[in-house]
């Protein structure tokens, strides 16, 4: 009983810490996105709340929290209420298997604890992919339950888009899985230690550059970001699947989108860019005689990689116009899918030959 209680306490602490970090990151992202977009378009971004607008996320949060919560007259109340939750939970639950720092273990009361990963399950990637697909249901249900043509169109587009691009994400990851021989994110990250050419982006038998490209493009599509933001295309569908949502429910969708962005960036960093590994072997802090603080350097490297991905999301949004629906489908099935499949074949042959 005490062991169970201890396990629970440790897990809840980790979950709380990581949820906190993710939510702070999301708050930061909402501001960073508007600022970066503004700077790229010769504007200033939000400037009113606090010095240089840095308190804008809090103003937004307060506004969304106190806004009237409207349920449209013809809406399916149960599904309408559930959709944002269905969207939000998978976005957050994926962080359970992301390794944020070195694969250390220590013992508390006879229990082995890994401080930098909530749960090192051996099918980590499958778990993330499965929940990412579940998140699509939130969008589809939300679009259907709103009883609005714009929401329905957004939801349907989302369904088609996620079916097409989920496949490419899965297939582009398989190359890495073949190289690492494991589905656990912790094992995959550990296998990329050493210099940066050990990262699976450049790794020896079969560099996963093409897989990385496919993954990045598909990840942008999967998180419904520009240029693949067809489900919420504001110039065509008002706001797409969340047209009818307001207040806190809208905030949930918003939070889910940004949490998905962070999750996708974390997965990309862990799979292709060596996760928490520095581009050089070991850590500088270890060389300076502070091996117990080496985790700070490692987590910082992870943060740097993740945030550069998030910057890429903003950068794409500032640059690219939205794709047309048929272009999106054609690109997914006729370009990305063959590349991903060819990458699997090439990687398999390369790994087989070199072993």
């Amino acid at each position: 009983m005490t062991e169970l209680g201890l396990r629970l306490a440790i897990s809840l602490t980790q979950i709380g810490a990581i949820m906190g970090i993710v939510i702070v990151t999301v708050l930061l992202l909402t501001l960073a996105e508007r600022k970066v977009l503004g700077w790229m378009q010769d504007r200033m971004g939000p400037m009113e709340v606090g010095p240089y607008g840095i308190l804008q996320p809090f103003a937004d949060a307060i506004k969304l929290f106190f806004k009237e919560d409207i349920i449209p007259a013809g809406a399916n109340k149960l599904l309408f209420t559930m959709a944002p939750i269905i969207c939000l939970i998978p976005a957050f639950i994926g962080f359970a298997v992301i390794p944020w720092g070195p694969n250390w273990t220590f013992e508390i009361g006879g229990i082995t604890v890994k401080p930098f990963v909530i749960s090192d399950i051996n099918i980590g990637i499958l778990y993330i992919l499965a929940f990412a697909s579940l998140g699509a249901y939130g969008i589809i249900i939300g679009g259907w339950a709103s009883n609005s043509k714009y929401s329905l169109l957004g939801g349907l587009r989302s369904a088609a888009q996620i079916i097409s691009y989920e496949l490419n994400v899965g297939l582009s990851i398989i190359g890495v899985v073949i190289l690492a021989g494991s589905l656990s994110l912790v094992t995959i990250t550990d296998a990329q230690q050493g210099w940066f050419w050990n990262w699976y982006l450049f790794a020896f038998p079969a560099p996963q550059i093409f897989a990385f490209g496919v993954y990045v493009i598909s990840a942008v599509a999967e998180t419904n970001r520009v240029p693949f933001d067809l489900p919420e295309a504001e110039s065509e569908l008002v706001a797409g699947f969340f047209t009818e949502y307001s207040g806190l429910r809208f905030a949930f969708f918003f939070l889910a989108e940004y949490a998905n962005m962070v999750l996708v960036s974390c997965v990309a960093a862990a799979l292709f860019l060596g996760g928490w590994n520095a581009p050089y072997p070991g850590t500088i802090l270890e060389l300076l005689g502070l091996p117990s603080l080496a985790w700070i350097e490692n987590t910082m490297w992870f943060a740097v990689k993740t945030y550069s991905f998030l910057f890429l999301f903003f950068w794409l949004r500032a640059t690219l116009p939205r794709l047309r629906y048929d272009q999106l489908m054609r690109f997914g099935w006729k370009v990305l899918l063959p590349i991903a499949l060819a990458n699997i074949v090439v990687t398999s042959i390369a790994v087989f030959v070199t072993q």
Binding site: V36, W39, Q41, M44, T319
Partner: protein, 188 residues
């Protein structure tokens, strides 16, 4: 549609540009260069305001001479010149001075005004002026229906330097609508 695009002959460089997303990279380079050479063209409007051009046409106002008398002679030319029918003038004789007229009432419906400045051009005595005021957002549309006192007040706060009366500016010129104090009145 797909067949036509696939049969089209592509040169190697075109093909290479297509597969490397060359155009996208050009666009992303442009946005990144704007990020790195960050020069915002935005003004933080309520805190800082842009300099208005010299010929800025803002809120209309009625003007006075330096002795405080109104310039307007009630000729209705502004009303005739206005394309949006903003102005309504009720003209009347100055009591006790049959040769002299003034505007008894003067209304402007600023909700309709398009700030063309034709009334100002039309005025023979320069009684109308365009100020540099532009922050005239109101909560009630009827607050934009201005009467003579309000228009004179706008003129007072926007044009602190006033002209002399015309007959004092040009002592040798005869003016319509000006009382000739040095000429004895005609016997009736």
């Amino acid at each position: 549609m797909a067949s036509t695009s696939s049969t089209k002959h592509l040169s190697f460089s075109q093909w290479f540009k297509t597969i490397t997303f060359y155009e996208l990279l050009v666009g992303m380079k442009a946005t990144l260069s704007h990020l790195l050479n960050y020069r915002p063209i935005t003004l933080q409007y309520p805190h800082e305001k842009r300099t208005l051009p010299d010929n800025y046409r803002g809120m209309l106002a009625l003007l006075r001479y330096d002795d405080g008398t109104e310039k307007c002679v009630g000729c209705d030319l502004c009303e005739a010149a206005c394309p949006s029918r903003v102005i309504r003038v009720v003209s009347a004789e100055v009591p006790g001075e049959p040769t002299k007229r003034y505007s008894k009432e003067y209304y402007m419906d600023m909700t309709r005004c398009l700030f063309c400045g034709m009334c100002v051009d039309a005025c023979p005595v320069d009684a109308l002026g365009m100020t540099r005021e532009f922050e005239w957002a109101v909560f009630d549309k009827r607050q934009l229906h201005l009467n003579k006192q309000q228009l004179l007040a706008i003129g007072d706060r926007s044009f602190p330097i006033r002209e002399k009366r015309l007959e004092l500016q040009h002592p040798n010129v005869a003016f319509f609508n000006v009382a000739f104090k040095h000429v004895p009145p005609k016997p009736n």
